[in-house]
Amino acid sequence: MQHNSSEEHHSNGVAGRNEGQGGFSRRLTDEEFDRYSRQMIVPGMGKEAQLRLINSKVLIIGAGGLGCPAAQYIAGAGIGTIGIVDGDIVEPSNLHRQVGHATSRIGMMKVDSLITHLRDLNPLPTYVPYTFPISHENAADIISQYDLVLDCTDNPATRYLISDVCILLCKPLVSAASVQKSGQLIVLNCPPTPQGKADKKYSPCYRCCFRKPPPANTQLSCGEAGIMGPVVGLMGVAQAGEAIKILASGLHLPSAISGTTTEDDPHNLIQPTLLIYSYDLNAAPGPYTFRPLKMASRKKNCFACGENSPQTLTLEGIKSGNPNYIQFCGLQTPKATLPAQDRITASAYHAARESGQLQNHILLDTREKEHFSFGSIEGAVNVPFGKLLMKAATIKRSGGDAEEILPVKSAEDPIFVVCRRGLDSQEAVEKLKELGVDQGGKRKIVDIIGGMKAWKEEVDPSFPFI
C-alpha cells in the first residue's frame, strides 16, 4: 500500500479533522467526489476506504475474458494505479466475452485496446501497459510494483508462476479461472505472509490447493473447449469485487487480521473459500450452481510457501528457469505417437477417395457433436472422443464385443479417424487397436494427420473449421 499523498489529487483538497496520515488525510477532489459517490455511501465504505482504493496499485495479468470485466470494475472503483499484462492481440472470436475490447480495435494489442476502453470509463487512474506475456524472467520485476495481483491468465504454467512470485514478494492474489461452463474463484495469500511461515495461521497459495497440474492432454483452453461469456464474465467481476473489498478494508495488511480470526470464523481468509460456478445450459439455477468450498490453510510441506520452501523456491531460481513451469505442466509440443504406416495426410486421404482407390471404408470423426454440427467430410460418422473412451472402457471391463464401439457394422472395411487437430484421433486409433478392432493387424486403422484443420488447409479452404 502506498500511503504517500499524490499531488495531482490535491487541487482543492484540505486535510479534514480526525484523519490519518499521508494519502488518507486529504479531501477528495470534486471529480472524485462525484464519480465515486455511489460506492462511497455504501455502509462500510466511506471516505477512508475510497482513499485506500485511490492509493492502491493493482496488477491485472491477462486482458481476456476474466481481465476485461475485472479491469472495468477495478478502474470504475478508482484504484489509483492499474497495470495490465498481455501479449495477445484482439481477435473477432474474443469479443463475445472480452467486453473491454471492440470490433473497431480488432488487431490491436489487447492491453492497448483495454486501456483505451478504461480511460474512457475513468480517466483518473494511472494505467501501466505491459504489451508482452508474463514470464519467469519478468514476473518478479512487474509484480513487485503492485499491492495486489489478479490472475486472469489462461494456462496452468502461468498460474503456478504467478502464485509462486506472489508468495516470494508477499502479495495477495485473487485468482479466477473459467472454461466452457465452469468457473472458479479464490483469494490466496491474504493477508500476505512470508514464505516458510507455515502453520495453520496463514493463508494458502495456489500450490497448497492444487498441488499438481492436470495432465497436458486434459488441459482445456477456451479456444479448444469453448467458453460461455457470462460464465467467465461473472468470475472476472467477482474477482474485481474481492480485490476492491480487500483493498478498501485493508484486509491485505497483516495487522488487519492477525489474531482476530479463528478457524471457526466462516469469513476468515486463512481458510479461504473456493467459489465454484457451474452453468447448466439445460436447467435453471439450482442448489449446485454456486458451491462455496472451504479450503485448508497453508500446507506445511508446500513447495512454494511451506516450512522448507525457502530451500526449494527463490526469486533468483525462478528468473533463471528453476522450477521449469512448462515442464511441470507437461506442455511440450505434442509429438506424433503413431508409426507412419498408421497415418495419412488429409490431402493423400482426399486423393485416395477421389481416385476411387478407397471405396468402402469407415470415417470416424471424433470431434464433439457441436463441432461436427458445423460441417464434416462426406460420409463421416460422429463418435465424440469422450464417448469413444467411455465405450472402450466399458467394453474392456465387461468383455463385450469390441465391434460395438463402431456405429457402423462392417468387419473388414478399413477405418479412418479424424479429429479437430490430429491428437485425439491418434489416441482413438490406439484404443481401437487395443480392443482388437484391427483384428490383429488384418484390418487397417488409420489416423488422418492434423485433423479437420489440415483438411481445411490442404483440401477444402471453405470448410467451416471451428
Binding site: 472476472g236 473456493l274 457451474s278 447448466d280 449446485y288 479450503m295
Partner: protein
Amino acid sequence: MSTPKPAPGHFTILYFATATSFTGKNVESLPAPLSLRKLGDVLEERYKGIKEGVLGHSLVTINLAYVDIPEEGEDDVIIKEGDEVAIIPPVSSG
C-alpha cells in the same frame, strides 16, 4: 441453498469441470460408509482411467470443506451416510 438428500445408506458425490465430462454426470449417490482412501478405487471401478485423468490433480471436499486424502500411515477419514463429497479439478483457462 439446501441440496437433495441421498438415499438411505448412501452419500452424494458431485463432479465438477473435467470430472463432469469424464463421468458424464453432475451428481450421483454411492454406498456409505466408505473410507476416503478407497474413494479413488471405487470411482476407478466405475470410470476407468479417472484416477490418472482426473483424481490425481483434483481436490476433494466433504460437506463443503477441503480434505486431504490420507496417505499410508495417516488416519483415514470415513465418508458417512448423507455426506456430500465433491471432486474439483482445477480450471486453468480464462
